[in-house]
Subunit: 463 residues, 2 copies
């Protein structure tokens, strides 16, 4: 939208259609809706605060008529830049769509608008003894709409699944401006194509979700934490495979690599001298069953290179065991405020090979690479600790990242486990997905969004 006069005309019709109180046009005000946790800054020309499905339909229709790009936005906590309006145009903020339409404990579901915070869902669900499985670390600030856009997960996905496994039905407005209803309010369905899962994880490129029926899960009665410290990552990974092969599925199975251990040791967390990898395992269930379940986990975790295993006796001890994990993020932020945080997945048994490769790359590019993540899913958060003001290091990091993604794919892994593709990883998509399959995805995009107005520049590599 280079032409200011055309944009002015568009904004006038927008004001007539949905009212001035729902629109921002001041460039300084718009700027606050042009960035996300990728730290990229876009320049929206107009921000619309939609209040309901019909308003969103009107906005989309006008964007089609005026060929204005539309980027939907929850609270901007996403990391790959999915909410950044890289081509300017209109930002559709869902922050005013915070209605909880229905809480239905008898049918284990909740119907919400996209602007409802993840934490609000959890709080309301807990009043009836339930939770919603996706638990990204940003739960307190992120919206359900954003969670669905990225197929958000978190530690407990290992047992309870991600957004795709915990959403029953959606109302959405396609890029073409049609209101559609996907799925049904039932936990089973074989009625036509699965458009619910197709929209989840599509990062606002196909349709704007305006209402979601979330599947709720009963809260466990009790939890228990186990910490296991290993001499090296291969030993920890073998333990992970053994833990995942026995019937007590943990509700969290996190790992921390040697470099991360060095960091948290510097924060005062006491760990065995030879520690080369650490697993934090959480199990849940009936209070009376946890001791037996913990013993099962302990058996599976046993390994010649196990240095120490601790089962928390109570909540306070569990808290203490989690301290190691919690000390990590502040330590990383202090060390490298401009760090690059990547989210990749490999099959569980390939984690040691990837960590080995990451250590080689760390030496090659002179970049400290610290790894932790959701071991049970092979979902690793790779942190490149760079000084973002150092142009040479930034360039080295980019080359290093390209090598990382190549290794992940060579190990049968995938580019993202829970953060999405956005703008950050789009140029690697052609390596991850073959041309035929990517072409089918592009054509599906055209079906939903014939004028390509929705979130242009995302997911797909430039031709």
């Amino acid at each position: 939208m280079g032409n200011k006069l055309l944009m002015q005309a568009f904004i006038q019709t927008l004001i007539q259609a949905i009212g001035e109180k729902n629109i921002l046009t001041d460039p300084a005000e718009c700027l606050a809706y042009g960035y996300d946790n990728s730290r990229r800054q876009g320049h929206p020309e107009v921000v619309v605060f939609a209040e309901n499905t019909l308003q969103i339909q009107k906005v989309i229709s006008l964007c089609n008529q005026h060929k204005v790009p539309l980027t939907a936005r929850g609270r901007g906590t996403g990391t790959p830049g999915g909410a950044v309006p890289v081509m300017g145009g209109l930002v559709l903020s869902c922050e005013r769509m915070q209605q909880v339409v229905k809480v239905d404990p008898a049918n284990r579901l909740m119907v919400v608008e996209p602007g409802v915070l993840n934490q609000t869902v959890q709080t309301l669900a807990a009043q009836h003894g339930f939770f919603w499985a996706p638990d990204p670390s940003s739960a307190a600030f992120c919206t359900v709409g954003g969670n669905l856009a990225y197929n958000a997960a978190g530690p407990r996905a290992i047992k309870y699944g991600a957004a795709r496994e915990n959403t029953l039905a959606l109302t959405a407005v396609t890029g073409g401006g049609e209101i559609i209803h996907t799925g049904s309010a039932t936990t089973k369905g074989a009625t036509g194509y699965d458009l619910t899962r197709l929209l989840i994880g599509s990062e606002g490129t196909l349709a704007i979700i305006t209402e979601a029926t979330l599947k709720l899960t009963p809260l466990p009665e009790a939890k228990q934490t186990i910490r296991a410290v290993y001499r090296h990552i291969a030993a920890a990974a073998e333990a992970v495979a053994r833990i995942m092969a026995q019937p007590v599925v943990p509700c969290s199975l996190e790992f921390i690599d040697a470099k991360a251990i060095a960091l948290i040791r510097a924060q005062g967390v006491d760990l065995p001298a030879q520690a080369g990898a650490l697993l934090l395992i959480e199990i849940d269930g009936l209070a009376t069953e946890l001791p037996a379940a913990a013993r099962k986990i302990e058996q599976a975790a046993l390994q010649t290179d196990l240095l120490e295993i601790k089962i928390a006796a109570d909540a306070a001890e569990a808290e203490q065991l989690w301290d190691a994990r919690k000390a990590l993020s502040p330590a990383l932020r202090t060390l490298a405020p401009g760090k690059i945080n990547e989210d990749v997945v490999v099959p569980v048994a390939h984690v040691p090979l990837l960590i080995e490769k990451l250590n080689t790359l760390s030496e090659k590019y002179h970049i400290n690479i610290v790894n932790f993540g959701h071991a049970g899913n092979g979902n690793i958060h790779i942190n490149l600790l760079i000084d973002s003001n150092d142009a040479q290091q930034r360039q080295g990091a980019e080359q290093c990242l390209a090598e990382i993604f190549d290794s992940v794919l060579a190990l049968n892994g995938t580019l993202s486990g829970e953060h999405g593709i956005g703008i950050e990883k789009r140029d690697f998509m052609a390596k991850a997905i073959d041309a035929n399959t990517l072409n089918i995805m592009r054509q599906i995009k055209e079906v939903f969004d014939p004028n390509a107005i929705l979130n242009p520049g995302k997911i797909f590599p430039a031709y």
Copy 2:
């Protein structure tokens, strides 16, 4: 393909491309590949036994060139007629694609060709302490390809999910003849659009799945069965909602209604005189934890109108409790060999309303309607016991079915939980799915299958 000469020419090119030994053309022989468990009979003009992905690609290319309909087939156990070649043409049998490509216990996955039987997967997985969640009652005879085509489930879907929740990646040939690869060999992914779930449940109308990466789950250590008998269905449904709201998720939660109880009582199964509904509940987990878990279920099952509750002391007693359920199918088959078996889903709390409606319809149409199914998912198998030789009763049954589907949809339910749409339910799709959404589905079909050669006449209502 009315024109015999054109068909002859097509078959000649087919023989040249993939060899005579993989092709049937004798009409009598072809007939055996023209029916399925819907008891409809189609008339394929040629049957091809594909051996690999590239052969399937060749066959699809030729079908496109010659505009020949292609209907894929596993073992024909599906009930809504999805495997019946209603427009003739070519039947692609996957029965020779029975290779287990990889069993990878460390990564909890198995890679199989579509012709592998569900039972083969279970047997191989069990050797490593795992199972694959989908467990249709036809497991011994049905193929993974068919399971994926219909998003098959079974009783344990309540805890472990259906095919969509238990498949990681697919190789497929689209209707356009392109080989695509969806998903990845990881249990988490946020890398572009979810084509895996889109293909699962699409009943061979988008692409032919040629290889599937199945997600395996550890076998439980032990199981326990509980049988609860209620005075009426409303009491049983209330118990179901309470069972589903507490943290011990059963691995099976089946129900049987009053008319079904009358049938099995006639088979000699001893049940309380006032029994109006019966729940069969199975829980699994560590052997030491099951007594506490069973008590939790017992608490949730308690209800003023509970007549009797029995917890099986051992496997023999469990077998005895399941007898009631197992006596049902033979009883139904004896009573009405031409019975109509429908598969619908409603939100769990609406089950009593649906059963009430079914009883009203039973009186209105003078048809005995017997109901049982997977109560925890609200997935009900409705059996209309008609004499299929009685034309008047058949007509009444059709009207009755239309009213049943209307009621299911009015109760926020859906047309199918695990059997699919096929030809049997396609005319009800426009009631279940609004025009915009159905239109998006049709356009997605066009993306994958531009010449509409794949399984024509299925899922979508006639224009």
